[in-house]
Symmetry: D2
Subunit: 390 residues, 4 copies
C-alpha cells in the first residue's frame, strides 16, 4: 500500500466468478444497502463485536468486479430478484448506481463454445482482467471469490473452468475463496503454482442451510451419546442452482460435502441418502427436509425432522462478504496457505479443523484475535493514516 494513498480511498477489490448470478447480485446490492444504512447488517458475522478490532476492510471500501459468461446487467438481475422476493422491493432502485458500477467491471468469462484458446491463454487473459481491475482502481489488493454455478467434477486431466479462474487468481496475486463445490484450487495441476504463490486461501462449498444445521445437530447427538441410525435429506431448489445440481455429477460433489460433515461430527457415516431436486417453481427459494432416526437409551427409536426454508442467495451473500473481508485482511497480515480457521463457513474447509459449528466459531474467534495481534503495528486499511501508523 502506497503511503501516498489517503485512507479514505484505500480500497479492496472483490472479484466474483459468476458475477451476474443471484449470489453475486445480492452481494453487490447488499453491500451497498448496508453501507448506506438502508438495512442492518443481519447475517454479517464480520460486523459483530468479535471483529471490532481485527482491522477488516470496511464494507464501504469494497469495490466489485468479476467474470461471467452471461450478459444480463446487474440492475436488471436485481429487479428480477426483487420480483422473486430475494431482494426487498425498493432496493434495486436504491442501489442502482452501485450495481451499474459493478456491472461495468464484469469481463467475459469462459471458455465459451468455439473458444479456441488453450488453458494457459485463458488463465493469462483472466489474470490480466483482474490485474487491470486492481490497477485502474488503485486497489490495495483484491480477493477472488467463486460464486458461479456448480460444475460437474472433472472427468479427465483437463482443467475445469473453476480451476482456470483459480489459477488466474494465483497468477494475479490474489487470495482465493471457493464458495462452491466446484474444483477450483483443488486440482493436482495447480499444486505447484499454489505452493509458490504464498497466498492465503479458504475452503470449498459454503455452508448455508442444510449442512449448517447438520453441523450443530450432528455434534448434539454425538455429545449426548445418542446413536444416529439414519440421516436422510431432500433438497428442493429452483433457480440456476436447481438446474445445475439436477445433474447427478454436480449433485454428487455437493452431497459429498454434506456427508462429510455428518461423518466428521458423528464419528461414523449413518445410513441415508441426500436428494437434490430441481423445482423451478421455487425460484431462488430452497427447502431442505432432514429425517434423522436415532436410538436412545436401551435402543428406543426416536426421530428428529427438520425443514429449512431459506433463500440461498440471502444466506450466501453475507458469508461471501465476510470471506472477502477476512481473506483480504489475512493477505494484508501476511498469512498464506489454507486458512483453516474459516471452517465455520464451509462444508469442506481448507486445512485441518473441527467439524462442529460451535468449535468452528471458537476457531473463528481465535482468528479474529489473531488478526488483531498477528503483526503489531500492522495497520488495518481503515484505521488511521499511514503517517500515524509508522
Amino acid at each position: 500500500m502506497s503511503a501516498s494513498v489517503s485512507p479514505s480511498v484505500a480500497r479492496v477489490g472483490v472479484w466474483l466468478i459468476g458475477a451476474r448470478g443471484s449470489v453475486a447480485t445480492t452481494v453487490v446490492a447488499g453491500c451497498a444497502a448496508v453501507t448506506a444504512g438502508l438495512h442492518p447488517p443481519t447475517g454479517l458475522v464480520t460486523e459483530t463485536p468479535m471483529f471490532a478490532d481485527s482491522g477488516l476492510p470496511a464494507l464501504s471500501s469494497l469495490v466489485f468486479g468479476g467474470h461471467d459468461t452471461v450478459d444480463c446487467p446487474l440492475p436488471k438481475r436485481a429487479e428480477a430478484l426483487a420480483a422473486g422476493g430475494v431482494l426487498p422491493p425498493g432496493l434495486p432502485t436504491a442501489v442502482r448506481a452501485e450495481l451499474a458500477t459493478a456491472d461495468a467491471e464484469i469481463r467475459p468469462g469462459g471458455p465459451l463454445p468455439g473458444d479456441t484458446r488453450g488453458d494457459p491463454d485463458l488463465i493469462t487473459a483472466f489474470a490480466d482482467d483482474i490485474q487491470d481491475f486492481i490497477r485502474r482502481y488503485d486497489l490495495t489488493r483484491a480477493v477472488v471469490v467463486n460464486v458461479a454455478s456448480t460444475e460437474p467434477p472433472p472427468t479427465g486431466t483437463a482443467l475445469p473452468p473453476s480451476s482456470l479462474y483459480a489459477a488466474a487468481a494465483l497468477r494475479a496475486g490474489c487470495p482465493y475463496v471457493n464458495f462452491t463445490p466446484s474444483t477450483g484450487l483443488d486440482h493436482p495441476a495447480l499444486a505447484p503454482l499454489l505452493a509458490s504463490a504464498g497466498l492465503p486461501f479458504a475452503g470449498r462449498d459454503g455452508k448455508t442451510g442444510q449442512t449448517l444445521l447438520r453441523s450443530v445437530l450432528g455434534p448434539m447427538f454425538a455429545q449426548r451419546a445418542l446413536a444416529v441410525r439414519a440421516w436422510s435429506g431432500t433438497n428442493l431448489l429452483g433457480g440456476g442452482d436447481g438446474a445445475s445440481l439436477a445433474d447427478p455429477a454436480a449433485a454428487a460433489a455437493k452431497n459429498a460435502g454434506k456427508e462429510r460433515v455428518l461423518a466428521d461430527t458423528l464419528g461414523t457415516a449413518p445410513e441415508g441418502e441426500v436428494h437434490i431436486d430441481d423445482v423451478p417453481a421455487l425460484g431462488d427459494w430452497k427447502t431442505a427436509w432432514d429425517h434423522i432416526a436415532f436410538d436412545g437409551f436401551l435402543g428406543t427409536r426416536m426421530v428428529l425432522q427438520t425443514t429449512w426454508q431459506g433463500c440461498d442467495s440471502s444466506l450466501a451473500a453475507p458469508l461471501v462478504l465476510d470471506l472477502a473481508r477476512l481473506t483480504a485482511r489475512a493477505h494484508e497480515a501476511g498469512l498464506s496457505g489454507p486458512l483453516s480457521e474459516l471452517g465455520f463457513y464451509f462444508k469442506d474447509p481448507a486445512g485441518e479443523g473441527p467439524a462442529a459449528l460451535g468449535e468452528q466459531y471458537a476457531a473463528l474467534a481465535g482468528f479474529a484475535q489473531r488478526l488483531r495481534v498477528e503483526r503489531p503495528g500492522e495497520p488495518a486499511p481503515h484505521s488511521g493514516s499511514d503517517e500515524e501508523r509508522r
Copy 2:
C-alpha cells in the same frame, strides 16, 4: 469409606424421589440391562472415553432406593412401560430381580392427604429413610435425585414437597440433583441449611428434548448473526407428565426454563409462545414442534421447523444415571456448592455457565479432567483398597 470394605462391595446409593415413576423405572431397569451387557450404553455420556479416568462409580456399584406415594411395584410398572414401547419387550423379565430389589427399598413419600405431621417431622422422617438405606447397604455415599412429577410453583411460604425432600437430602448428607422444574433446593427457607451443608448439588430441570435442540439451534442463529424474529413451540405428551403439565402453573415453571435458554443464547427473547398439551393417546411418547421465523441478509424472511419425537423416560434415564455418578464422584472429591459444569444437563443450571450446548459440553469435559486431577491420590471408589491408596 471404611478401610475394611473390600473394593468389590464399595457401593453408591441412588435415592430417587418419584421412585416408581416412568423415569425411575427406566433408570433402574436400564442400569441393570447395561451392566449385564444386554444393551450398549447409548445415551450415557459418562460411558464415553471422556470420563474414562475420572473415577466415576461403576454402573454395577449403584444401589437404588427412593420415595414415592404410589404403590405399583417396579416390576409391574416395567411391564407397562414395555407394553408402551418404552422398554424393550423382554427387558422387564430379564431384570426382574434388580427391579424387585430396588422396589423393596422404596419408602412411602408424602405428605399424603390426612398426614398431620409438620414439615420438620416430614424432613426428619425422609432423612431417616435415606440414612437407613445407606446404613443397611453399607454405602460409601448416596445421592438424591428428584424425578417426581412436576409440581406447581409454591404459592405461599409453605415448603412444597420437592423442597421437603431436598431438605432431607441435605440433612442426610447427600448430594442433590433436581431433574424436574419443581422448587427443590431453590426455596429461600432452605438457604441456611444449604449453606452449612457443604454438599455439591446440580441444577434444575433436565434438558431432554425441545430445549436440548434449542440449546444448539439458538447458538447457531446467534453465531451466524441471523435475526430470530419469533420462536414458537408446541409439546404434545401423554403419560403422567402430560397430565401434570396441563396444569398451567406447572407448565409455566417448565416453560420458563425453555425460554431462558433462548434468551441466553440469542441475547434477546424472541416473540412466540410454548404450549404443553396433555395428549394421553401418546403415552410416554412426546412430540415437540418448533417454528422459528428468522431474518436473513437484507431482512429476507426464512423459517426453520423442527419436529422431535422421543420417549421422555428414555431420554431422561441415562442423564439421571450420569448425574448420579457425577455428583457422587464430586462428593467423593470434596466438591461442594453448585456444580456449574453440569449445565450440559439442565434447562436451569446451578451456578453460572454458558447456555450453548457446545460450550456446556466443553465445560463438562473440563469437569471430567478436574475430577481426574482434583485431589491427587484420591481414589475412585472402585479402583483399589484404601490400604493400597495410602
Copy 3:
C-alpha cells in the same frame, strides 16, 4: 331490475363489513386485477366450468363499498400488503383507480367509543348507508359480507357489532354472508327479522386453511376405518387477526368451528387442543401445524403431520368473491333462508349438510345446476334486457 337498464350497467353491489382490512383490500384489488386480465382467476371456484351457465354476475359487474372504523385508505393499505408479499409488487399501482373508487364508498362503522346511539339507531344508520349505495349506483342488488376482525362471543343480551351490521343487511333487503366466526345473524334477537326478511344467507367462518385440510383428512380416516386418537393443532398468525384471536374468547369461537368439522367427519371428537398464537413477525402469513395420532390395524400407532403455510387474505379473498356472486344470484333466483349448499366455504355452514369437502363440493355442483334451472326464463343479470328475454 328495470328493463331500461342496459346490460352493460347491470351492476351488483358488494358491501363489506371491515372494508379496509386485509381481506377486503385483497378482494377489491383482486377483482380489478382479474377483470383486467392481469392475473388468472386462481382460487375462484365460480370461474371454473362448473358455473359456466349459472347466471352469476360477472366480476366486472361488481361494485364495492362497506363499513369500517379505521381510516387508512385502500390504496395505502394495498401498498402495505404488497410490501408484505400479500399482493404482487406492482398491483396497487395498477388498480389504484378501482381501490380509490371503492374507498370512496366506505362509511364509518361503529359503534365507536363515545357513540351514544342505541342499537336501533345504529342499525338504521347502517341500513341507510347500504341503501344509499344501492341507489346512487343504481345497483340491481347488493350483498353484505362480514370480513371484519373476529369479535369475542357476546356475553350478555346486547347485540355485538357483527349482529348490528347483519340486522342492517336484512333491513336493507340484502343477502348476508358471515365470513368470520363472529355472531352476525346467529343472535336470537335477530330471529324474527330474519324470518320475515325472506332473504338468502350463507354460513359462518370461512374455511381457508387448517380447517379446509381437516375437512378432507377427517373423511379420509373415517372412510378407511382408521381410528383417530388425537388431533392437535397450532396456528401461528400475525396481522390483525393474530392479535384479535389472541383474545381467548375470540379464539374459542374460532376453535369451535375447527372442532366441529372433526367431530362431524370422524363421528367422534378426538383428544387434542387447538392453539392460536399471535406472532406479529409473520405479518399476514399464517402457519398451521396439525399432528394426528391414529391407530391402524391391530392398534398399530401411526402419525400424520401437516404444515400449512399460507396467506390468509389470499385464501379468503376469492372465496369472498365467490360467495358474493353466489348469494347475489341466489337472491335473483328468489331463494331465501340458509343456503346449505354453500357449506363448501364454511367451518360452520348455514342449514344442514355434509361436513366432508368432497360431498360439499358435490352439493355446490348441484347448486350450480340448480341456479341454471331453478327458474326457467329467469335471466342472469348480465345476460340481456328483460325485453329480450321475454
Copy 4:
C-alpha cells in the same frame, strides 16, 4: 359347493402370493385376532355398517394358503414383526395355531435359480397348488392376492413371476387382486386367457400411505381452484420393500402410480419428483414427506407439507382382507371383468373410475349396495344352504 356342507363350514380361500412376507403374516395373524375378538376391526372397511348386508364372507370363514420362495415359518415371522412393533407383543403367541395352519398351506413359489421348467409348466404347477388347496378344504371358492415384493417392470416378452401367478389364478378359476405395482394380469400375453376366464379382478398397487393422502389433497386443490406448481415427495422405508424399491426400475413402477393420481386429480401433472430410499434402520416403518408448492389468488405462493409415519404392513393388511372378501363376493354374485368400483383401494384401479378418494368411496358404497341387490335371492355364502338357494 356340496349341498351336504353345512353353512357353518362354507369357507373361502385366500391364496397369497408372497405368503411369508410382512403383509401376508399380518393378514393371517390379524384375521385370527379380529375373529377371536382380541382387537377391534380397525382399518377394515368391510366391517363398517356400509357392508352390513352385502353378503360378504365372514372373516371367520377365510382359509389362508399361498406361494412363497422363502422358508421362514409364519409363526417365526410373526415373532420378528412383534419385535419390530408391527404386531402387538403377545399376538404371535395368541394366534400361533392359525399361523401354523396357514404356514402348512404355503407351497414353493418360483421360478428359483436353476429351475428349468418353462412358463407353461410353472403356471400349471401353481394352478394345481391352488386347486389342491380348494379341494382339500372343500372351499366354496378362493381368491388369489399378490402381496409379494415389487418386481422390476418386465424388459422383454418373457412373463415376469407376478404374471405367472396371475395366469395360474385364472387357470384355477380364481378372482385375482394385484396389491403390488408388479405386472400381474397386465401383460399382453395374458389378455386372451383373461378374456375367456370370465372372472372378476381388481386393480393394481394398493393405496396405503402417501398416495392415499394425495388422493384427498389433490382433489382439495382442484376443487378450490388453487394452482399446484410442484409436488415433491420422499419415501423412507426399510424392510424388504425398501430394498426392492431401491432398485430404480421397481421404484419407477411404483412412482408411476403415485404420479397418475396427481395428474388425474389435478388435471395436469405438476413439477416435482418422488424418491424412494431404502433405510433399513426404519424396519417395517415408513415415512413419507410431501412438499406441495401452490399458487393462491393473484399468484401468492403457499406451501403445504405432510409427513406420514406409518407401518406398511398394518396399513396394507386390512385392505387385503377387504379385497379378498369383496372379490370373493363379486365372484359369487357372478360379476366378471375389472371391478372398477374398487378404485378406493388402488393407485392404479382396474377399469374406469374417479381418482378422488371421496368419489371412490361413493363408488364403493354403490358396490356394497349392488352386491346387496345384484341378484335378488342370491344368498351370501355363509347365510344358508344351497338347497334353500335354489
